[in-house]
Amino acid sequence: MTAPAPAPESAVARARDIAAAVPDPELPMLTLGDLGILRDVTAGDAGVVVWITPTYSGCPALREMSRDVVARLAAAGLGDVQVRTSLSPPWSTDWITPAGRRKLAAAGVAPPGPAPRRPAGPVPLTLTPAPVTVTCPACGSADTARTAAFGATACRDLYRCQACAEPFEHIKEL
């Protein structure tokens, strides 16, 4: 029996393109590449290894993403594929690409601002919510108000535009 050969560089590059194009099950306007959770694609001992990072500890979509990656790579003839979890460093919304941010806004979801910077010392306590700086994805007005700090999934909260009256979702900075 011969040992399985590592995947060649060309296969890794093709696998990276295919894996990056897999849609997120909960934000289907975004791909894994747009979301920044596709951390790496490498040549393992027995085929391609795809590394993805969970957005939140309890993210229920991770398994669907893995299955989808495996199915698409198999359909492209890339054979044995392993999807591995990369836990460190933890995902941040800063990893959402500029293209991902444009797609979110086009779908009516306000993209996140910069993730909060962690100062030295204990994690700071926030007793007064920060002033709203989210612009309305429908009309572009900056006159918006947050209506709920939690939404349909862990990554979203809810806003309303005071100018055009449209309610919308926003990706929380993490």
């Binding site: 849609p23 500890s57 309890g58 979509a61 979890t85 990369s86 994690v123 007793l127």
Partner: protein, 287 residues
């Protein structure tokens, strides 16, 4: 084949009869290097991960009891989100425990296959709440303590524990803010809401000493793996003093004998009966 929608993905002919995504649980540490670092006793690391995993699992279950009875839809959504974060932390930590002790027990074995005497959560996680004010007091104490703990565990000599903690810190930051902001709203609201908030603090205060008592669990592990519980006290006290100062409430004076992990109230049994009922009725079932 790929899936263009989530619906296609869950209705795919896979033979495992799943009805929603996320219900066919797979190893949440798949592909993670789970070897135990040199110089760390696997059994002790496992016991530690199990203890702080049980804290998250049991707190999550209590939070889930609020679904369909929270005062507002927005709060129900908030509590569901917080419960899901803690459940995710529990899945990772229980899985880490099963790897580290070499037993190969899965998260399901550990969550569904143990009786009350084998759970290692602190009592604060398991007690029920008299009302929403009581829940906010308990959530503030729990998340303030757990945030201080996980923030230190980010530097743990066990890289898996450190990575789980780093993600947990992001989540506990907004759990703590949520509870603190509700405490202020209720304390500075009507005389009745203030009275209920004070009663909630009085209910959790006697359980707080448990969180900072040194136990064999931490003493067996090197301080590079996990901090001593007493080290968290100063940060905890400072955060509580800030919130209570703004609310003009005093921390109730509640001298109490700290209970070691593994000592439980009578409330844990009924909680586990419900948590484990489906797994006991249908052993090994997946859905």
């Amino acid at each position: 084949m790929g899936f263009d929608t989530a619906y296609e993905a869950i209705t795919e002919e896979s033979g495992d009869q799943r009805w929603a995504f996320g219900t066919g649980f797979a190893d949440p540490l798949a592909g993670v290097d789970t070897s135990v670092p040199d110089g760390v006793a696997g059994a002790d690391l496992a016991a530690y991960c199990l203890a702080i995993g049980d804290d998250a699992l049991i707190m999550s279950q209590r939070l889930q009891e609020w679904l369909a009875r929270a005062p507002e839809l927005e709060e129900e959504t908030a509590l569901a989100n917080i419960a899901l974060d803690l459940l995710g932390q529990a899945r990772l930590l229980l899985t880490r425990a099963g790897h580290a002790d070499g037993s190969g027990r899965t998260e399901d074995d550990l969550a569904y296959g143990r009786g009350p005497d084998e759970f290692r959560n602190v009592r604060l996680a398991e007690v029920g709440d008299a009302d929403f004010g009581g829940l906010m007091a308990r959530l503030l104490v729990f998340s303030t303590w757990r945030l201080a703990l996980l923030d230190r565990l980010r530097a743990s000599a066990d890289p898996v524990l450190a990575a789980i903690a780093a993600k947990g810190v992001q989540e506990l930051t907004y759990h703590r803010d949520y509870a603190a902001q509700w405490l202020l709203r209720l304390a500075l609201g009507t005389s009745y809401s203030r009275e209920r908030m004070a009663a909630g603090l009085a209910a959790v205060a006697p359980l707080t000493a448990d969180l900072f008592a040194d136990s064999d669990l931490e003493l067996r592990l090197s301080p590079e793996v996990a901090p001593r519980p007493a080290e968290l006290r100063a940060e905890f006290d400072e955060v509580l003093a800030t919130v209570l100062g703004r609310a003009s409430l005093a921390w109730p004076d509640a001298p109490a004998r700290p209970a070691p992990r593994g000592e439980h109230t009578r409330e844990l049994g009924p909680l586990l009966d419900e948590l484990q009922s489906v797994a006991r009725a249908h052993p090994g079932a997946t859905w």
